[in-house]
Symmetry: C2
Subunit: 341 residues, 2 copies
DNA sequence: TTGTAGGCGTTATCAT
DNA sequence: ATGATAACGCCTACAA
């Protein structure tokens, strides 16, 4: 494409009878350049249609001002909120984002990581695929000391930087809220326990039960992939149970909503017969009837924070440690789905 | 960052007593290289921890295998679906995406375009900000013949490639459906008329009214920014109207949903007193009660298509024209919000 | 089948 | 305040 000659700093230099070095400096607003020459150069650059060549300068500088982002899925409100925050923070700091999705596959995640590596991103932001077991695909980054920041779905290993919410505490809180309201048989819908977000929430759920003197029952833990269908499958299971739960705590709002809808269709009264709590504060939580009690997840802030932490590392001259856990505040949002009239 | 020496093809060449040229060729699987040397080289590359330097090769090749994407907002389900499609198509073809958001501002859009230009993206995918008036900020691209593909929000000018749905027809269809159901006072909620998506839908709405022998009334056209608040403001307006509409057609599902909720709270029966139709087939349309009649918007496919069209241009040796309009099929999805019992 | 050599555009170092 | 020069790592026309 576009095979017309590109204008270089040499062209500008020649035109003005200067050296390329001077032009280069002027274009970067180097202090040691005469103001007038600077102006002349900038003027000429504009006129000639010069554009800076990032490759060439990256080649010299070994820095790309590009961050890699790998997420399980792009197409969720939750994730797009995080990305919006990342993009804003990155662009404010003069960085760009290269975004790829693993589609919950460890293999595609590994491929993405490879690509990011070859694109020479300055740092990596990653939220792990549900099925990822080994982090060895990150070795290229870790061994070259290219900083990695995990967000949302992290991994509990040493020397890891992560930005998360307190999943244990959030789940504990919402479950405790349910028990405090008198609910005793609380079904918990969750995802792959490999991921902290799910295992921690299960832990919080169990702890709250224990604190309320309720025995945990395996039958009341429903593990699935947290899709819309998961909600429907959970509803079907509930409808078949002889001893039904009096409340459901789902690890995301979508499952909660679909489960509610399915149960409502079957004639179950919500929240009278079964109360509901979700997670994320997704837009649908404010639309479903009754509105869903949930945990507000600060996605935008998480995105911003993750990028800022990463860029922080990049700006440190001598990195001594790249370990740092940021835990963001998440809060309980009470709505009608847990309030019996 | 990572100041350890990078392994280059020279290092590999030296190690094996070969020339860098041979190594370069071997690494790209050049046919004219001995199979054995190839193997040796690939082996050595792996052992030494060699990684290909894209800058250096881009500098030579003048190709980045990166596409720029500029969208109004990242944080909507609609947009993230498109991006998911783009990412998939791009990664299949060996391309990466650099994504930026204009936040509906012409100025930030221009900045983003500049950045993409300097990053030397091979092509640009753009959905225009609501307020963008002039396309002159695209000049750097057009004048260098770097292909641009507009998607969703395009601009009706010559020599433009776009991937859209038929907004006129979609709006015509859904409005006609309403008139065929006997609705006569149909309020239309829409966005900035600068954008094709809104102006075309308004056109479709008016045409369907005309075809049904209904006179268009200015009072029944509500223009706003299509946010959640727009829905609420529309509801407030409706509540104040002496002659209320019997149906509402909103240009997105979010506004429709929020308008519905607000009216329901005020005691309005839906669809009995006022029926509702939306646009996009957003997840909330299946959650709001009554479920929302809407237009299914093929976001994922649009993303894939836009990328494939763009890459198609990049692969054409001699571009003769870069004008091509792809119109994707969108369809009416009828749900309860328009069906009086 | 493999090697030589020059250049892609920028920037940092050293010199003036 | 400005200039000369080399180097970043790769690729390819040409030569052998």
């Amino acid at each position: 494409m576009s095979t017309e000659k590109e204008v270089t700093i040499y062209d500008i230099a020649q035109q003005l009878g200067l050296s390329a070095a001077t032009v280069s400096r002027a274009l970067k607003d180097h202090p040691a350049i005469n103001k007038n020459t600077k102006k002349k150069i900038q003027q000429a650059a504009k006129e000639l249609g010069y554009r800076h060549n990032n490759f060439a300068s990256n080649l010299r500088n070994k820095k790309t001002f590009t961050l890699g982002v790998i997420v399980p899925r792009l197409s969720s409100y939750f994730m797009s909120t995080i990305l919006a925050g990342m993009e804003l923070a990155a662009s404010k700091a003069g960085y760009n984002l290269i975004i790829a999705q693993s589609l919950e596959s460890e293999e595609k995640e590994a491929q993405n990581i490879q690509t990011m590596f070859h694109k020479r991103v300055d740092g990596l932001l990653i939220s792990l695929a549900a099925t990822t077991r080994s982090l060895s695909h990150l070795l290229p980054f870790t061994s070259k000391k290219i900083p990695i920041v995990f967000f949302d779905r992290t991994e509990n290993i040493p020397d890891t930087t992560s930005v998360t919410i307190d999943n244990f505490f959030s789940a504990y809180n919402i479950t405790k809220y349910l028990t405090s309201k008198g609910f005793k048989r609380i079904l918990h819908v969750s995802g792959n326990k490999l991921r902290n977000v799910y295992s921690e929430r299960i832990r919080g759920y169990k702890q709250a039960l224990a604190d309320a003197g309720i025995k945990f029952e395996e039958e009341l833990l429903f593990i699935d992939d947290m899709s819309e269908d998961t909600g429907i499958r959970a509803a079907e299971k509930i409808l078949k149970m002889k001893k039904k739960p009096d409340a459901v705590f789902s690890s995301n709002d979508t499952c909660a909503a679909y489960c509610m809808m399915h149960l409502k269709t079957a004639g179950v009264k919500i929240p009278e017969e079964i109360a509901f709590a979700g997670f994320n504060n997704d837009p649908i939580s404010k639309v479903i009837e009754p509105n869903l009690t949930t945990i507000n997840y600060p996605g935008f802030i998480m995105g911003e924070t993750a990028v800022n932490v990463l860029i922080g590392y990049l700006n440190e001259e001598h990195i001594t440690k790249v370990t740092n856990s940021v835990v963001l505040r998440s809060e309980l949002v009470v709505r009608q789905s847990t309030e019996k009239k």
